[in-house]
C-alpha cells in the first residue's frame, strides 16, 4: 500500500475551485517533485496533504505505517520567525512536540534525537546560537533538523532553496538527496527549479491547467518534456 495517496482531490479557496480531479500516490522511498506555475495550487495542495486544510472534495489517505501527523514539514520562512529570539536547540527540539501529547516537558530520548539530527545536518556547533542571526542556508538546516525530529518516514519541503545562493542551493539539494537515498526518507518537494527537480526526483507531479503525474522518465517523454526540448 502507498504511504500517501490523494484520491480525486478538488482544491480551492472560499468556494472557488483552483484544481480538480487530482490523484496521485507516493510510495516509501520515492522522491516526488511538485512543479507548476505560481497560483496553480502547489501550496494549497501541500496544506491539504498536511491536514491544515480540508479538500473541497476527494480525500488524502496515509498508509504503509505512516500516520497523518508523522509527516515532517519544512515550511517557507514566515515573518514571525525572522525576529524570533530562539536558540537553534530550542527550535530543533520543538520538532518533537507532536509526540508529547499532554506531557509538558521533553524526555531524554527526545533530547537525544534533537542532538542526533543537529549532528546529521552539521549544525551541532551552532546549537546555542540565535536563530535569527544565522545565514539563510543555516536556518534551512535548522528547520530541516526540526522536521527530522517529527518524522523518520516522510518529509514535505516547500521551496527549500528559495532565496539561497547557488552554492548553498547545491549543498541543500545534496543534503536532501542524502536523506532520501541513505536514510530512506520519502521526499515530497515543491519546487520552482525544474532542472533540479529532473536531476533528483524519481517522480514528477505537474499541476496547473493540465495535470501530469508519473516517473521522471515518463515526464521527459511527455509533451511537457518535449516543450522544453529535453527529449
Amino acid at each position: 500500500m502507498a504511504q500517501l495517496s490523494c484520491q480525486n482531490l478538488t482544491l480551492g479557496y472560499e468556494g472557488k475551485e483552483i484544481l480538480s480531479g487530482l490523484s496521485f500516490e507516493v510510495n516509501s522511498g520515492d522522491y516526488l517533485c511538485i512543479v507548476g506555475e505560481n497560483g496553480s495550487g502547489k501550496s494549497t495542495l501541500m496544506r491539504t496533504v498536511l491536514g491544515l486544510k480540508k479538500p473541497m472534495s476527494g480525500k488524502v489517505v496515509t498508509g504503509d505505517g505512516l500516520s497523518a501527523n508523522e509527516i515532517g514539514y519544512l515550511p517557507q520562512q514566515t515573518l514571525v520567525q525572522r525576529d524570533f529570539p530562539a536558540s537553534v536547540r530550542e527550535i530543533v527540539i520543538s520538532g518533537n512536540q507532536g509526540r508529547c501529547g499532554l506531557r509538558p516537558f521533553y524526555n531524554k530520548s527526545e533530547k537525544q534525537l534533537a542532538l542526533e539530527n543537529m549532528k546529521k545536518m552539521g549544525i551541532e556547533d551552532l546549537k546555542n546560537r540565535c536563530y535569527r542571526e544565522l545565514s539563510g542556508g543555516q536556518q534551512q538546516r535548522v528547520l530541516l533538523a526540526r522536521a527530522l525530529c517529527a518524522t523518520r518516514k516522510m518529509l514535505l519541503l516547500d521551496e527549500p532553496v528559495a532565496g539561497l545562493d547557488p552554492k548553498v542551493t547545491a549543498d541543500m539539494y545534496s543534503l536532501i538527496d542524502g536523506l532520501n537515498k541513505k536514510d530512506k526518507i520519502t521526499i515530497i518537494m515543491i519546487s520552482h527549479d525544474l532542472d533540479a527537480a529532473l536531476r533528483y526526483a524519481s517522480h514528477i507531479l505537474h499541476i496547473g491547467s493540465d495535470i501530469f503525474f508519473g516517473t521522471r522518465d515518463e515526464y521527459l517523454k511527455s509533451r511537457f518534456g518535449a516543450e522544453r526540448g529535453l527529449v
Binding site: R47, G51, Y73, P85, A86, E90, I91, Q97, A147
Partner: protein
C-alpha cells in the same frame, strides 16, 4: 528615605499593593514575548477596554461583584480575537482596534447616561489610569490575585514548550500533531485573566505597556526564548516594585500605574543601549 520606606511598609495597604503589583507584573510579562511575536502587541489594550466596557455595564446593572461580568466577557473577547488571527476577513490589528475603541465608547457612554456617582470623570479616570485602586485593595482582593497569579504561572510553565511551538510555527505544530487550536485558546484565556488582574494596577490604558515593555527590553539583549522569558519576568518584577516604591515615596503623589510604566521605559532604553553596544563590539 529608607526609614520612610520601612515606615510605609507598616501599613497593610502598602504591603498589599507591593504583593499584588509584583504578582501582576510577573504574570503579564510571561506572555509578552508570545504576544509581541504573534503581532498582537495591542491585544492587551483592546481587551482592557473590553473589560472597561464590561465594568461599566456591571455598574449600571447594579451588580456588586463586577468580576463575575468582567472576567467572562474579557475571556470571550480574547478567544474571538486570537481565533480570527491569520485567516479572518478583518485582520488581527483591525479587529483589535474595532473592539477596543468600540468597548471604550460604549463603556463611557453607559457610565455617563446611567451615572450613579457624583464624580463620573473621576471614576473614569480611575479605571483608565488605575490611579488609586491599587492602594485601596481589600484582603479578599489580594487573595484572589494571589490565587489567580499562581494559576497563571503554573499554566505557563506546564504549557511552556507548547506555547513555544505554537508561537514559532503554528503550521508546523498542527501538521505534526500538536493541537494548536487548543493551545491558542489557552493562551487567549491566560491573557484575559492577566488583563483583568492588571486593570487594578495600571488601569486599562496602560496595560499594554506592562505586557510589551519587559519582553521588548529582554529581546534587545537575550537570544533564546528561555532567557528572554526569564529576563522579562525579572525585569517586570523589578520595575513594578521600583515603580510602586517611587510612587509611594514621591512627594506629590505620583500615580502608581504611570510610574511603573515610566520605569519600564527607562529600562527599555538601557537594554536597547546594551544591545546596541553588544552588537558593535
Amino acid at each position: 528615605m529608607f526609614d520612610q520606606l520601612v515606615g510605609y511598609l507598616q501599613y497593610p495597604f502598602v504591603r498589599y499593593a507591593l504583593i499584588v503589583g509584583i504578582l501582576i507584573a510577573l504574570c503579564s510579562s510571561l506572555l509578552g514575548v508570545t504576544l509581541v511575536l504573534k503581532r498582537f502587541s495591542f491585544i492587551g489594550d483592546g481587551l482592557s477596554h473590553v473589560a472597561f466596557g464590561a465594568m461599566a455595564v456591571a455598574a449600571v446593572a447594579g451588580i456588586t461583584n463586577d468580576m463575575l461580568v468582567i472576567m467572562p466577557v474579557t475571556i470571550i473577547s480574547a478567544v474571538l480575537l486570537l481565533r480570527t488571527g491569520s485567516n479572518a476577513r478583518i485582520k488581527g490589528d483591525a479587529a483589535v482596534a474595532m473592539i477596543s475603541v468600540g468597548a471604550l465608547a460604549i463603556g463611557y457612554l453607559l457610565m455617563n447616561i446611567f451615572s450613579t456617582s457624583s464624580n463620573v470623570s473621576g471614576d473614569v479616570c480611575t479605571t483608565l489610569f488605575g490611579s488609586t485602586s491599587i492602594l485601596t485593595l481589600t484582603e479578599l482582593e489580594v487573595w484572589v490575585c494571589i490565587i489567580l497569579s499562581v494559576i497563571v504561572v503554573f499554566a505557563f510553565i506546564i504549557f511552556y514548550n507548547k506555547i513555544f511551538s505554537v508561537t514559532f510555527d503554528e503550521n508546523f505544530a498542527s501538521a505534526t500533531g500538536t493541537k494548536s487550536g487548543v493551545y491558542n485558546l489557552i493562551i487567549a484565556i491566560i491573557i484575559a485573566v492577566i488583563i483583568v488582574l492588571a486593570m487594578n494596577l495600571v488601569g486599562s490604558l496602560l496595560i499594554s505597556a506592562l505586557v510589551i515593555f519587559p519582553a521588548l527590553s529582554a529581546m534587545r539583549v537575550f537570544k533564546s526564548f528561555k532567557s528572554v522569558t526569564i529576563c522579562s519576568a525579572c525585569l517586570s518584577v523589578v520595575c513594578a516594585a521600583l515603580g510602586i516604591i517611587i510612587s509611594i515615596i514621591a512627594p506629590n503623589g505620583a500615580p502608581v500605574g504611570s510610574t511603573i510604566v515610566a520605569v519600564d521605559i527607562v529600562v527599555f532604553f538601557i537594554f536597547w543601549l546594551i544591545g546596541f553596544i553588544k552588537e558593535r563590539v
